[in-house]
Symmetry: C2
Subunit: 330 residues, 2 copies
């Protein structure tokens, strides 16, 4: 087994940094879900995490390891999603400036939320760019150079990966050994951290990744034996609209994830409705990936003890309402 970017010790160290800062989110169960599937399902509810998603874990774990110089200059990130809010909040908690490079046409609610998390932290700002005419990486690199800020990527960073792994570690500490854990896959930060934690704490466990049907780059990469790059996929699972897994995350997935399955947007909506109707939980589309695979028998779960990482709950209310009420997307 070649050397991976993170070890179980990195996750233990991340857990210590996050203690008292991140929420130890609840593990919820549902008799109905268990009856439907014949499994014992444990849902790790990261929709109750600070800023509404697991991303806080990785962001905070990374920023907490900045040197004094790095802290003074602050952090930069580009993201229109949960990573932006995770960085903004973590930076404020640690007293450092944050610059978030976000598309001009980001939903107003996301811009407002990110700015809200930056409040009271001098030097923090949101920098808007035109995603059709400007290159965000160039903007980020220029700002980083000008201001001496450290760039934290959304997934391909060992501190980010280790932070995300604490979600699976907490889950298994609470449930005891599991047969299987289902984890959504975007760039692979969550599943790589969780796979390292899960194999360490529950030897023999199977780790299966779940991607949206339209965005199965990691499934393709595993088949090809190298990272496959795809066009930005069209799926309601906006957190999994990544085009490729990371240089650091992919080798972990190759070694520790047994396979990747996919679910359709219609299956995501069914899972989202199940969460709302039966479990009273608001879960964003990406957060439904693991549950959809279990509830709709995409993965055989009967008779098994199965952990499901529910990655987040940040979804625009109007969009959420439309998905709950409307005809299922096809």
């Amino acid at each position: 087994m070649s050397t991976l970017a993170i070890t179980p010790d990195d996750i233990t160290a991340a857990a210590a940094r996050l203690a008292g800062v991140a929420h130890r989110t609840p593990v919820m169960t549902s008799r109905t879900a268990d009856e439907m599937t014949g499994a014992r399902l444990f849902f790790k509810c990261e929709n109750f995490q600070r800023m509404g998603a697991f991303k806080f874990r990785g962001a905070y774990n990374a920023l907490a390891q900045f040197t004094a110089d790095q802290r003074r200059a602050g952090v930069i990130a580009f993201s229109s999603g949960n990573h932006a809010q995770a960085i903004a909040l973590s930076a404020r908690l640690l007293g450092m400036p944050s610059v978030l490079v976000m598309p001009q046409d980001s939903p107003a609610a996301k811009l407002a939320a990110t700015r809200g998390y930056q409040q009271g932290q001098p030097g923090s700002e949101v920098v808007l760019y035109d995603r059709y005419t400007e290159d965000r990486e160039a903007i980020g690199a220029r700002l980083a150079a000008e201001r001496g800020m450290t760039l934290i990527p959304p997934y391909d960073h060992p501190h980010v990966m280790a932070g995300q792994g604490t979600a699976a570690a907490e889950l298994i500490e609470e449930t005891g050994p599991l047969d299987l854990v289902l984890v959504c896959v975007g760039g692979g930060g969550l599943i790589s951290g969780c796979a390292v934690a899960a194999h360490h704490l529950s030897p023999g466990i199977e780790v299966i990744g779940v991607e949206p049907e339209a965005g199965n780059d990691t499934q393709q990469s595993l088949a090809a034996g190298h990272i496959v790059h795809i066009e930005t996929p069209k799926t309601i699972a906006d957190g999994a609209q990544t085009q490729h897994s990371g240089r650091l995350t992919f080798p972990v997935i190759q070694q520790l994830v047994s396979r990747i399955v996919t679910v359709s947007d219609a299956q995501l909506v069914q899972a989202m409705r199940f969460f709302a109707e039966r479990m009273k939980l608001v879960v964003e589309p990406t957060g439904c990936l693991g549950a959809a695979a279990a509830l709709q028998s995409v993965v055989p779960v009967r008779g098994r003890r199965v952990g499901v990482i529910v990655s987040g709950g940040n979804v625009d209310l109007a969009r959420y309402a439309a998905l709950l009420a409307g005809p299922a997307p096809t």
Copy 2:
């Protein structure tokens, strides 16, 4: 202080009956809610209770005290709401037949849910009646006489009241003493039980009831000094569409509840959106009464430690989606 229908000992006994059967529901907090209000708010999440509402507590506590003869004959109730499901589930758990008298035009989902909870329990059925031409009390009385079944009313019964009080007892056991607890008011079963528990466990606590603006019968009753009967109110808080409080619940409210406030349907929708957006919780309109009073400063909460009973999460998904998305009702 005249003798009330229940004592703190009744609630302790109810808690023992419910141990391992009812969920000990989580108490959730929200930094955002605390920042908005300047209070420390503790939300007791009965939307996570079995069958999705606090009603399970009272129903089970009542049925668990049936004699052997009563169990054999079973239980009868009329309800189109959470009480029906609470009775159906409790009866099945205790192995007795249940008959639920429900309006012919009840939502299909509610009929299906009630029948689902009755499954596998011989002698159980849903009896439909025409609410425009038939008298449900007459139907209930006839069935009770014919079959020897015991009628359990939705709120005006000491065992039901004591069961509901366990919600506040668990809350305060977890949070320690509180300054105030906000409880929604329909027929008064929940608030009467909670008031007895709260004054016992947190001496000096203030208990405030919250009714929908359109259905303020208990507020009127407190002012009048006797039970006032109103027309069925028009409000989205269907669990609080009661026409009057009970003979047993009202004296408890008179003695232990300092006052009743009201909130509008628009305020309920705002609270419902807050729960979905910021706390990732699906809460039914009635369950939003207490939170609406706190979040919208209907009751002064600044600087106080405040318990809020979130009574349930059973709301038809299409209706829920419409309330989240649509213009606020006026």
